[in-house]
């Protein structure tokens, strides 16, 4: 449809033909569309809070406009660039290590022979996903202490002990690493399901052709789950500005603000001083814009390279 000019009547004709042919499909989609209209699109007027100063008794619509003031407050913060940098770096590291990890785990688990052992490992691997952040943070803090487990090893290997959570250069590693540990199991489920669904005949015929396990991996397994990987990757690009504040707050301290303070933790602290909807909505909107742009770019790129894309 690109580049062609279609006059209104032709468009109308094409559309009505489409509606006639695909009537049942549109009917099927209707309830879901209605759902999103009600629960997502109707409330969207709330985005305007970002440009107002919210007074609850005036309601959102009645609150006074303040233009870009909330954004200016955010952008002019002394820490603005640091927050953006930390948020992005953590997410990039998460992308580089945390995205492939579940795939690798799924592939490894898939290679296991014993069924019982296989199922046990899978079940155990996703348990950390269900453990609350508070408990996980407590465990990490404990590991990192000067007299904690890890330092005991460090000293044994000839190093000097020191609380690891006071080292800004280590924070991201600890944060991202522990996040991977927590999520890799649960994240591998979908890949495992995809792998296990691959037609065994494909493997058979490749074995007959003389392919080894490595070859099978490269030429059958990976290509088969490629669409899953790509779609999830595109979606992942859409959360590059999101780092949850809860775990950051639990793990950071004065010494690591430099690398640990992210957008969400800063906004959270601000919210403690005084609940300010307008500010946090503005920041949220800013994040969403960037996220969405990244998603669009990723989708475009993917569409250009292969046939898997969102639209």
């Amino acid at each position: 449809m690109s580049g062609k000019t279609i006059d209104a009547r032709k468009l109308g004709g094409i559309l009505s033909r489409d509606f006639t042919i695909n009537r049942s499909l549109y009917a099927m989609a209707l309830p879901v569309l209605v759902y999103f209209i009600i629960f997502s699109y109707v409330p969207m007027y709330g985005v305007t809070i970002a440009f107002k100063r919210y007074n609850p008794s005036l309601g959102i619509l009645g609150s006074p406009w303040t233009g870009f003031e909330n954004f200016k407050n955010f952008f002019s913060s002394y820490y603005f660039w640091r927050l953006i940098r930390n948020t992005l770096v953590i997410n990039l590291q998460n992308l580089a290590f945390g995205f492939p990890a579940p795939i690798v785990l799924a592939l490894l688990i898939n290679e296991l022979r014993g069924q019982a052992f296989k199922r046990t490992v899978q079940t155990i691997s996703y348990i950390p996903h269900f453990v609350s952040t508070v408990v996980i943070a407590g465990i990490i803090i404990d590991f990192a202490r000067t007299d904690g487990l890890i330092n005991t090893w460090i000293v044994a290997l000839g190093g000097t002990a020191g609380n690891l959570l006071t080292r800004p250069e280590l924070f991201r590693t600890i944060f991202v690493g522990s996040g991977i540990w927590q999520e890799v199991g649960f994240g591998s489920i979908i890949y495992l399901a995809a792998i296990m669904g691959i037609n065994p005949e494909l493997y058979e015929s490749s074995r007959i052709d003389g392919a080894g396990r490595w070859g099978q991996l490269l030429h059958i397994t990976l290509p088969s789950i490629a669409p899953t990987i790509i779609i999830l990757l595109i979606l992942r690009m859409g959360s590059m500005m999101n780092v949850g504040f809860e775990k950051i707050i639990l793990l950071y301290n004065a010494m690591t603000y430099e690398t640990a303070d992210v957008i969400s933790s800063f906004v959270y602290r601000k919210g403690l001083l005084e609940a300010d909807y307008s500010y946090s909505t503005a920041v949220g909107l800013f994040n969403s814009l960037i996220n969405f742009t990244l998603l669009l770019l990723a989708n475009r790129l993917s569409r250009g390279i292969n046939e898997t894309s969102l639209w």
Partner: protein, 544 residues
């Protein structure tokens, strides 16, 4: 087979709709139907013995909706405060039944905001623990916006008990009103102000062993901590918390006449980190840290009674700590040393003769504002009911519960019964929240549950830590909406900066030589404007 599942789902959904219900109460019978129209004959209400009114408070029984946070222990066995005996008895006597609306525990702030957004107000809103300015712009704005009622006239006419308590002390009325003179809520009052409940504490047994007298100056402390380290082998002689000086009880920092936050010098507002005393504080802490007198892991402080703190204290790695009186028992319980004895010591001063003016402090107006909403159809009745809490009878109900069930009078003094002290559902805990109120709009006797504390803990609070509090900002300062936003914007950055730099100076990561740059940076971030805002607020406070 798919069709069958669809049918199943459809049935489930329909069934759900029926059972999902609207805003039905729980299965319990609504208590509102108690027909006490004829009730008891007019019972007198008294305040300090003098009659101030009569029960019942209404001619025909009514129900008021009452929004307030719930309590954890109560939640374990009841679904709302309405099931507490004390409220049932009060409902019967006053003729006013309360229908409670409880947000989920710990979600009170969020729910309050949404309630305001939906403008669906009950008759009474109690913001236990939340600051009065949870409503954006504070109580003045809330009154202006037509959300809460200005209570001055109503209290004057219908709340004799509350009126009486307002005259209790010169600062009482000032603390209860806003800058513009609005009386906006019924609040929790303590006639006897609770003394500082936290401060420095030291191992008495070590002091005895080493022949050291109770430390009173920072130099005393230095010598003592050194002795702890060298003679007792303490690896972390003094335990302090993560944000020492900014949170906590302000011991040590107050020796230099500052805290790491706003404070006042008479009627002048100041900010600690840009004052000279702050440099001296950091320099001292830096020295102590460098010589191993402060816990090197203080950034991993896990609370006064966190496992790590307990371990350090009980195994003799530490000899002094800044803590609350209520934690003494825990330390004594977990120590492995039979000679362990803890004692509270005074807030140290920089030099002999100085007076420490900042410490943990409490006011007579304890907070927990309870508002009457403009939407209420029964403002007079609501005011009368809330006022009842402050009468002699109401005070007993709120503090102790129902006589015979949760307390008995022994030698003219109320004592809790086993229902509260030894309830099998709550092993070894004192559970007042199933019998009476822990906080709320009434005159509270804070010490009523302290019978289980040992003498050394109580002495620390009552005798030792108390003192001059004139450096602390009043707790009921108010800011206008614009001021609030502006201050918040400025302080977000400054607080981040100060909290980041403080431990760095203490730990020596940032050399004291760079201190001037530190102060300059704070000024650049706009602290002067922030101080002006605080000053304006303070000035208005004194004009009330």
């Amino acid at each position: 087979m798919r069709k069958a599942s669809i049918l199943l789902v459809a049935l489930l959904t329909v069934g759900l709709m029926g059972w999902a219900g609207g805003s039905t109460e729980s299965g319990k019978k609504a208590p509102a139907q108690t027909t006490t129209a004829t009730a008891a004959k007019a019972e007198p209400i008294t305040y300090e013995g003098k009659v101030t009114g009569y029960l019942p408070l209404v001619d025909k029984p009514i129900t008021l909706t009452y929004w307030c946070p719930f309590k954890e222990d109560t939640a374990k066995i009841m679904s709302s405060f309405a099931e507490i005996e004390m409220f049932k008895v009060m409902a019967q006597k006053t003729g006013i039944t309360l229908k409670f609306i409880h947000p989920p525990l710990k979600q009170e702030a969020e729910n309050f905001k949404l309630m305001v957004a939906s403008r669906d107000y009950p008759d009474v809103v109690e913001l236990t623990y939340q600051k009065a300015d949870l409503y954006p712009g504070g109580p003045d704005q809330a009154i202006k916006d037509g959300v809460f009622l200005r209570l001055n006239e109503l209290v004057d006419q219908y709340a004799p008990n509350y009126k009486a308590i307002m005259k209790f002390s010169p600062t009482m009325e000032r603390s209860l009103k806003t800058d513009t003179g609005n009386l906006f809520a019924f609040q929790m009052i303590e006639k006897v102000v609770q003394p500082a409940y936290g401060g420095p504490a030291v191992r008495q047994d070590w002091l005895n062993d080493l022949g050291i007298a109770t430390p009173t100056t920072m130099d005393d402390w230095y010598a003592m901590l050194k002795a702890f380290k060298e003679k007792k082998g303490a690896t972390a002689p003094l335990l302090i918390e993560k944000n020492a000086g900014a949170d906590g009880y302000y011991a040590f920092i107050s020796a230099y006449g500052v805290i790491a936050d706003f404070f006042r010098d008479e009627t002048v507002a100041k900010y600690g980190p840009v004052e000279e005393g702050f440099r001296q504080y950091l320099a001292t802490m830096n020295k102590w840290y460098a010589e191993g007198l402060i816990d090197h892991d203080f950034l991993s402080w896990d609370g006064q009674t966190g496992a790590n703190t307990l371990k350090k204290f009980s195994t003799g790695q530490a000899g002094a700590i800044e803590t609350g009186f209520y934690s003494f028992g825990r330390y004594e319980l977990t120590t492995t040393d039979p000679k362990f004895k803890l004692v509270g010591v005074p807030y140290p001063v920089a030099k002999k003769g100085d007076v420490v003016k900042m410490r943990q402090y409490n006011e007579q107006v304890r907070g927990d504002p309870t508002f009457v909403t403009k939407a209420s159809k029964y403002p007079v009745e609501a005011v009368k009911l809330l006022d009842y809490n402050y009468s002699d009878q109401g005070t007993m109900y709120c503090n102790y519960g129902v006589e015979g069930q949760s307390y008995t009078m022994v030698d003219g003094k109320p004592q809790y019964t086993d229902f509260v002290k030894n309830n099998p559902k709550f092993p070894g805990s004192v559970v007042t929240t199933i019998a009476c109120r822990h906080e709320g709009p009434f005159i509270r006797d804070y010490a009523r549950t302290f019978f289980s504390y040992k003498q050394n803990a109580l002495d620390a609070m009552n005798l030792i830590w108390n003192g001059d509090q004139s450096g602390m900002m009043p707790k009921t300062l108010a800011l206008t909406a614009e001021e609030g936003t502006r201050l918040n914007t400025i302080m977000s950055d400054i607080k981040t900066y100060v909290w980041e730099m403080m431990p760095k100076f203490i730990m020596g990561v940032e050399p004291m030589g760079k201190y001037d740059a530190f102060v300059a940076q704070i000024r650049k971030m706009g602290i002067d404007e922030a101080i002006r805002i605080k000053q304006a607020s303070l000035t208005r406070y004194y004009k009330r």
